[in-house]
């Protein structure tokens, strides 16, 4: 099993998860990499992905586990990158004993974004703790929810660069919903297409 860490940037941000799955099969075939296939009437490559990222967000920390014999991580990365489009280039590759089951083990995602606003507003955002209510619409209904516990960490670097560590896994806080609320509460500005997932934090079976 090879675990590939790859990015999803530029125009690739707009490719849905299911289309990334299909695209990966094509990249591997172009690369001359030969993963094992499932059995059955419609055999498919044995590929396992970290949880889907929302359409439009960038990432430099997506993961794919590939069941493939007889190839070193170095070789895999080199061949993969020669066949991958710009927006889906590989960052690193390593061995794993078995399928790491990303979805079951993921605990949080870290998102990087620029926020523009008054010094006072940005300082307040930095200090959000414990209780924070957000309001959003889901399936046509307006939902208000305290997500304080789902915000694991807010880190500010320099004036405007923020890193939000948000819960993932069993309970998820979507960055677009949080940012929308910050806009309402603090009058800050941000650009969703420029939000990037920079890390995925895993639990005990952390594959990284």
């Amino acid at each position: 099993m090879i675990i590939l860490k790859y990015r999803k940037t530029g125009s690739a941000r707009y490719i849905s998860h299911i289309d990334v799955l299909r695209g990966m099969g094509r990249i591997l075939r172009r690369a001359g990499l030969e993963p094992t296939f499932s059995q059955g009437f419609n055999p498919h490559m044995n590929l396992y992905f970290s949880p889907p990222i929302a359409l439009g967000l960038g990432s430099v920390a997506e993961y794919m586990a590939v069941d493939i014999p007889e190839v070193s991580p170095e070789d895999f990365l080199k061949k993969y990158n020669a066949a991958a489009p710009d927006g889906l280039k590989g960052i690193s590759a390593e061995y794993a004993e078995k399928n790491p089951n990303f979805a079951a083990n993921v605990k949080a995602f870290v998102y990087r974004t620029e926020l523009k606003g008054s010094a006072e507003a940005l300082a307040k955002i930095e200090k959000i703790k414990d209780v924070y209510n957000i309001t959003y619409t889901q399936k046509g209904e307006t939902v208000t929810k305290d997500v304080g516990a789902l915000i694991r960490k807010i880190e500010r670097r320099g004036d405007s660069e923020f890193f939000f560590t948000l819960a993932a896994g069993a309970e998820v806080l979507r960055p677009d919903r949080l940012l929308k609320q910050l806009e309402v509460d603090f009058g800050i500005e941000y650009s969703l297409p420029e939000v990037t997932k920079t890390e995925q934090l895993f639990g005990v079976d952390n594959p990284r």
Binding site: G10, D19, G25, R26, I27, F37, P193
Partner: protein
């Protein structure tokens, strides 16, 4: 100021399937070539998923991008949600590759794949901020607007919108046109001179100059096809022939247009073929590598426009097909390879090519798809190489008599040939028929039900089970230009519905059969636009202004609006659906496809007598197309 790309990114999350509008596919050619100072936008007037499935567009895109002086970019019709966002944010229609407004291109090519896309051309022009009519673009430094694709076989209804119409196979003609534009730009672009010179390229028609003097004979023909040296002579000879025909009777312009000879590629082994096609990031309609096997068709089905329009019959060699197929799979990673042409089973080297590819495709886990097989061309051995899911065949008519009328040379015995496929493991058959064919009676519809019954019995007998599914799909016959049936009447919407209802009842009692049919109203409009003349430009404009677009999509087609547009402009649809006297001058008579009008007429008469014409592969039937190049490289 944010760039156009940044402004586009801000609206992308508000629309469905944003990847339709982003570009970024693997194998996108270099858009920053040092010497590329000319830009062509290739527009497909339907959505991304459909346009990206078109082989012609792929060929032209990569052929022009192979020219050092040019880059070609793509643009598709945007869905209503995207159009709303673009309009609200002042974003003009843009190209996918570099996000450049269409208005800034040197030339824009529209692919006219079928008649119901005509309003979408206006839709795209409007989003791009470009006037519809060529006459309104003379001043203002607008891009040259070019049309190509099968609908240019009858340019009359849309020619007012285009500066240049390319008739026939576009790859060499478009490259010649691109070279000419490049040359003229360096001298100081003069639109009139470009049109005048462009006319000398085989296949090029400049509507504004339809009646002007043509100087090609003296200035020398620039034939796009480098393998041909006889372009000048052909044009002169054909012109003389056409001028012998009867005087003008139907054209609203009063005088005859200069004859335009269709562009034809002579050697399919030497012609450009894209071995690094784009790999779409979202699922498209035909999401696979496409290998073209041959052009033209020897079957001579009398309703089929493609079968006559793409003559002469020219094949690629087995080795070309094998090499190109392998290269495409290696360059794209597609898991399916389709062997494409008008009737794949007729390809001389099909079994040889498929057998030679087997080891490669097995190792790569690639499926080979064989569409457009005719019943009588199916070789049971081929079943071993393709996926055993569903078979598709087109008997087109239910009785031997009607199949003889339309020259679909399939016998009942051929239909029994399907037994070989049942043995090979297929469990599902799709059958295509046409309703409203000339001379059709209820008996012919009964025949369709009879075929289903026979196939089911055959399956039960061969396989010993009853789990076969037969899906019957009925389209509506439309008399199309340059076919032997081009003079026939279009059946009315009411008659069509009666037939569909009748057949539905007949099929209802047969187990495992599903029935689907094509809408009669869209077919009626398609028929009118297909055989239309210059008067229809105003109707198309009116219909678009009244809200018609994406007319090929059931959910957006609005027949009442179209009827209203005809009424407002004062044009009777009936003028175009009724039978046309065979001695009338047709709006497309000035297009020379190579096939003689007298041949079409003779075929029509044979058809009405239920006499068949053999496949061209069995010997030349003398349609005339071989003056454009020998069929099967002279092996007939």
């Amino acid at each position: 100021m944010p760039t156009l790309e940044q402004r586009i990114n801000r609206i992308l999350l508000n629309v469905e399937k944003p990847a339709r509008y982003t570009g970024g596919e693997f194998n996108t050619p270099n858009m920053k070539k040092a010497q590329a100072h000319n830009k062509l936008a290739l527009c497909f007037p339907d959505v991304y998923e459909i346009g990206m499935s078109n082989l012609g567009l792929s060929i032209l895109y990569h052929a022009v991008n192979a020219l050092p002086a040019w880059t070609a970019e793509r643009c598709f019709a945007v869905k209503a949600d995207m159009a709303r966002e673009m309009n609200a944010n002042g974003i003009p229609l843009f190209s996918l590759e570099t996000k450049t407004p269409l208005r800034e291109f040197d030339a824009i090519g529209f692919s006219l794949q079928y008649e119901l896309l005509y309003t979408n051309v206006l839709y795209m022009l409007e989003l791009a901020g470009i006037p519809f009519r060529a006459a309104d673009r003379k001043n203002g430094n607008y891009p040259l607007i070019i049309a190509g694709g099968p609908c240019t076989v009858n340019p009359a209804p849309t020619e007012a919108f285009f500066d240049i119409v390319v008739v026939g196979e576009g790859e060499n003609a478009l490259v010649a046109l691109a070279n000419l534009i490049d040359e003229e730009k360096q001298k100081g672009f003069d639109r009139e001179r470009v049109l005048e010179r462009a006319e000398c390229i085989q296949g090029v028609y400049a509507p504004a100059r339809a009646h002007a003097n043509n100087k090609c004979a003296t200035s020398g023909v620039q034939n796009g096809d480098k393998t041909s040296s006889s372009g000048t002579r052909k044009r002169t000879v054909l012109k003389a022939v056409v001028e012998d025909l009867n005087g003008d009777k139907t054209s609203s312009s009063g005088t005859r247009k200069r004859t335009v000879l269709k562009a034809t590629v002579e050697d399919l082994n030497k012609v450009f073929y894209p071995l690094k096609p784009l790999v779409p990031n979202i699922e498209i309609v035909h999401d696979r590598a496409v290998m073209e096997l041959y052009r033209g068709c020897g079957s001579g089905c009398r309703f089929c426009q493609a079968g006559f329009y793409y003559r002469p019959l020219r094949e690629k060699d087995a080795q070309t097909v094998i090499n190109c197929s392998k290269a495409m799979i290696e360059n794209t990673g597609f898991d399916e390879l389709t062997m494409s042409s008008l009737s794949s089973g007729d390809y001389t080297h099909l079994l040889e090519a498929v057998e030679a590819l087997k080891d490669f495709t097995d190792k790569k886990r690639v499926r080979i798809a064989l569409p457009s097989l005719r019943l009588n061309s199916f070789d049971g051995r081929l079943a071993d190489y393709t996926r055993k899911s569903s078979l598709t065949f087109a008997p087109e008519a239910g009785t031997q008599r009607l199949r003889d009328v339309i020259n679909k040379n399939i016998t009942d015995a051929d239909i029994d040939n399907i037994g070989a496929m049942f043995e090979a493991g297929y469990r599902s058959v799709k059958l295509y028929f046409m309703l409203g064919l000339p001379t059709e009676t209820d008996e012919d519809l009964d025949g369709i039900a009879e075929i289903c019954r026979r196939l089911r019995a055959l399956y039960v007998k061969t396989v010993g089970r009853k789990d076969v599914t037969i899906s019957v799909s009925c389209s509506v016959f439309i008399p199309k230009p340059v076919t032997p049936f081009q003079w026939e009447r279009q059946i009315s919407v009411e008659e069509m519905r009666t037939k569909q209802y009748y057949l539905r009842n007949k099929l209802r009692d047969i187990k495992g059969v599903t029935f689907g049919w094509h809408d009669a109203e869209t077919s009626e409009l398609e028929s009118v636009l297909a055989r239309g003349d210059e008067r229809l430009a105003a109707v198309i404009e009116r219909a678009y202004a009244d809200g018609c677009k994406f007319d090929g999509w059931t959910e957006s087609f609005d027949f009442a609006k179209w009827q209203g547009a005809f009424q407002k402009v004062g044009v009777d649809m009936g003028d175009y659906t009724r039978a046309i006297p065979t001695d009338a001058t047709l709006p497309w008579d000035f297009i020379d496809t190579g096939v003689d009008k007298s041949y079409l007429l003779a075929e029509r008469e044979k058809g009405l007598r239920a006499e068949v014409t053999a496949n061209c592969r069995d010997g030349c039937n003398g349609c005339g197309a071989n003056k454009l190049g020998a069929c099967l490289a002279g092996k007939l």
